[in-house]
């Protein structure tokens, strides 16, 4: 994709499905649930990554559905080590590639390094390793599959679970509304590391997702892409609605699609008039218990956050001063 000049920041706006690669790297036969938005995202992210890549994956849904010994769904060289450390594993892969390249021990071109993990493996248990790897500036792309709870272990709440959602450890009851806290802003945390590329993406907007992954891969240094991954099992939604729900998340402003290049925010999917959040909440069983005041609160909060994001996008100033020190040696 270098010919499209993403590394130079050129905007590519021709969307055509026939231009998408036919090659599959995440193969069928995996054990993901029916209607899994995450598996769809993985498939397209892997297409965007292309052949020359090494993937480190955290423990979680996508690991467990795809790598039952002696079978695998991954046609990339792929390594799973544990839950909280996939960024550190990727850091080791990146370091090894650096030294092997300098010593002339790499055959073929240097592969891209991609780390993947769920929202728990990213914003909870894996946050330290991720922060370390982003801070050290490894040349890798981190992709977070955000299905908004610990789905693999049976739908327990994470810090990425949205306010009000029912999970098995944030059950609504006489004294509980469900999830008590607002979703952790993992994207802002990634941006705060002053890394060159951060983006949100969605399996409902495959071209947008595809090109963001390409940009992330081609950007030297760390890149972070946060992918909303609809989970019919955990969200208590109809399996055929997964792509629609992902689209509604963006159309309601719940999950805006944007990118942050060298600290500058830009909406990549503009929504001229946001739909009411109840359009997004209603098809999901996990929000069924919410009453009018909670829905109104969510609506207000979503609009306030969206407004903040628009201000960031309109700001002539980047979120941070990009760091480009001179080379040594």
């Amino acid at each position: 994709m270098e010919k499209f000049g993403f590394a130079q920041g050129t905007k590519f706006d021709t969307y055509a499905s026939r231009m998408m690669p036919r090659e599959e790297y995440f193969t069928s036969g995996h054990r993901a649930c029916q209607g899994c938005g995450e598996a769809l995202a993985v498939r397209w992210v892997c297409k965007a990554i292309g052949k020359d890549a090494i993937i480190a994956h955290a423990t979680g849904c996508m690991e467990i559905v795809s790598s039952a010994m002696p079978q695998t769904s991954w046609l990339h060289p792929w390594i799973h080590v544990a839950f909280e450390n996939t960024s550190a594993v990727a850091a080791g892969v990146d370091a090894a590639l650096n030294v092997l390249e300098r010593k002339g021990k790499l055959t073929g071109r240097r592969p891209a390094v991609v780390a993947m993990g769920g929202d728990g493996g990213t914003s909870d248990i894996g946050l330290q390793a991720l922060s370390g790897a982003l801070e050290r500036g490894h040349n890798f792309t981190y992709v977070c599959w955000d299905n908004e709870a610990y789905m693999n272990t049976g739908i327990q709440r994470s810090s990425a679970t949205p306010y009000g959602a029912m999970t098995t450890t944030s059950p609504p009851g006489k004294k509980s509304i469900g999830q008590k806290t607002w979703k952790k802003d993992m994207v802002a945390i990634a941006v705060a590391h002053n890394i060159p590329y951060v983006a949100t993406a969605s399996p409902a907007y495959l071209f947008d997702l595809y090109f963001k992954i390409r940009k992330a891969i081609e950007t030297p240094g760390p890149a972070y892409v946060h992918v909303l991954s609809v989970c019919p099992t955990g969200w208590r939604s109809a399996t055929e609605l997964s792509v629609r729900l992902a689209r509604l998340a963006t159309e309601t402003g719940v999950f805006p699609l944007f990118e942050v290049v060298e600290g500058r925010h830009r909406l990549t999917v503009e929504v001229p008039k946001l739909r009411p959040v109840k359009d997004y909440l209603k098809p999901q069983g996990r929000f069924r218990h919410l009453r009018e005041p909670e829905v109104e609160f969510i609506q207000r909060q979503v609009l306030a956050n969206y407004d903040l994001l628009l201000k960031k996008c309109q700001s002539p100033f980047p979120e941070f001063a990009p760091i480009h020190p001179p080379q040594v040696g």
Binding site: M69, I79, V81, A82, V89, A90, G92, V99
Partner: protein
């Protein structure tokens, strides 16, 4: 500096620095480390060697030991010769990943500068840290002086990377009382080490031209077989370990055995200890033998795989075996080395009486006189019948 040294010349330096030269001479390619006392001098010096371009390697300044071991798994899986070092709490934080590194058969080499585990917090030496990691499936070696630390740090790479082995390897050296002392070392030259240790040939690695899946999970019908394969590999590594040690002996004149013996001929009482206190015990044995007492010393060097046959041979013919642990199995009756030795000897028709002592916890100093007192205590206990499952030597109150 290391390149300028010539074989046969003995150079005085801190043992930690000698270990870092061993890692440099081994041409380690990826080093991921997090600071923890008393491992720090090793990795500080390695990072200087990398910063000066004297070692062509990547030094990853990870944010924790958990990430140090995780990054080591990543770099070893990608095909780089990988080294790390840690101690105590750092080793404990690695715990989860240590099992995975060995199960994935990745030839990582790690120095553990042995230190007590908290609590209470103690930066000083004992073997509590490594004994908590006894069952991680790594090859585990103990050294007792600086030369051994240098020698085994080089040899560990050759052992770990051998395609008959493919197992990560730990070289244990006592924190402070060994890691921070200045000793005379023979540092080999680069050419000699290069001849001894060829470049790493990964058995498999992460490579888009030949993709593999590493770290797949196992259902119940496969898990047991994978663990058995690991057990067989670790047990069988004994042959390669001793083969590499013999090759080193021919090269340097320094010969190593899985269980070292010191003045055991005709000894009816044997002390047994691992690590640098072995040299202190040697002084005590010399004193006792000078007074006509038939007391000898055995020093297991190879902790995993445990050298059952060597141990049985080394203690054959003695009446009383005094096993000195540097760790506690709280609430149990046998500390780690005692438990292993007793289980090795139990099937024998003729076996010595075995008494267990734990000494030198959390940096408590152990002098030759302590071993003499300990032997006297053990002989009295053996005569009247042991009053305790084990004895915590020198404990007050």
């Amino acid at each position: 500096m290391a390149q300028k040294m010539t074989a046969g010349k003995r150079v005085g330096m801190e043992v930690s620095i000698a270990v870092s030269y061993a890692v440099q001479l081994a041409r380690a390619e990826a080093i991921a480390a997090y600071p923890i006392t008393p491992q720090t001098h090793i990795v500080e010096h390695l990072s200087t060697l990398v910063a000066n371009g004297e070692l062509e390697a990547e030094f990853i300044t990870v944010e924790s030991e958990h990430s140090a071991m995780s990054a080591s798994v990543g770099s070893a899986a990608t095909g780089a010769r990988t080294y790390t070092a840690t101690s105590s709490q750092g080793l404990a934080l690695m715990h989860e990943i240590l099992f995975i590194a060995s199960a994935m058969r990745l030839p990582i080499v790690m120095t553990v500068a042995n230190r007590a585990l908290s609590g209470p917090l103690s930066i000083w030496n004992d073997h509590g840290d490594i004994m908590a990691e006894r069952d991680i499936g790594w090859i585990q070696i103990f050294v007792e002086n600086g030369q051994e630390a240098f020698d085994h740090s080089v040899m560990a790479f050759k052992i770990a990377e051998d395609h008959r082995v493919l197992l990560p390897t730990i070289v244990n050296l006592d924190g402070f009382i060994l890691s921070h002392v200045v000793e005379a070392h023979e540092i080999l030259d680069q050419e000699t080490v290069d001849r001894f240790l060829p470049p790493l040939k990964p058995y498999h690695r992460l490579d888009p031209q030949k993709p593999v899946t590493m770290g797949a999970f196992a259902m119940p019908e496969l898990y047991t077989e994978v663990k058995m394969a690991h057990q067989v590999a670790l047990t069988n590594s004994y042959d390669t370990i001793t083969e590499v040690w013999r090759e080193w002996g021919a090269l340097t004149g320094r010969h190593y055995s899985p269980v070292e013996r010191y003045r055991t001929e005709g000894a009816k009482v044997l002390l047994l200890i691992m690590g640098s206190l072995g040299e202190v015990a040697e002084v005590a044995v010399d004193d006792m033998q000078a007074k006509g007492e038939a007391v000898g010393l055995v020093k297991p060097r190879l902790w995993r795989p445990f050298p059952f046959t060597d141990l049985r041979a080394a203690v054959a013919g003695c009446d009383l075996l005094i096993v000195c642990d540097r760790a506690l199995s709280l609430g149990g009756g046998a500390n780690p080395v005692l438990a292993e030795v007793r289980s090795a000897l139990y099937p024998l028709a003729q076996r010595p009486q075995v008494l267990g002592y734990t000494i030198g916890l959390g940096g408590r100093d152990v002098q030759p006189d302590d071993f003499i007192k300990l032997v006297q205590h053990a002989q009295a206990e053996a005569k009247q019948g042991p009053s305790q499952e084990f004895y915590l030597y020198g404990v007050r109150g």
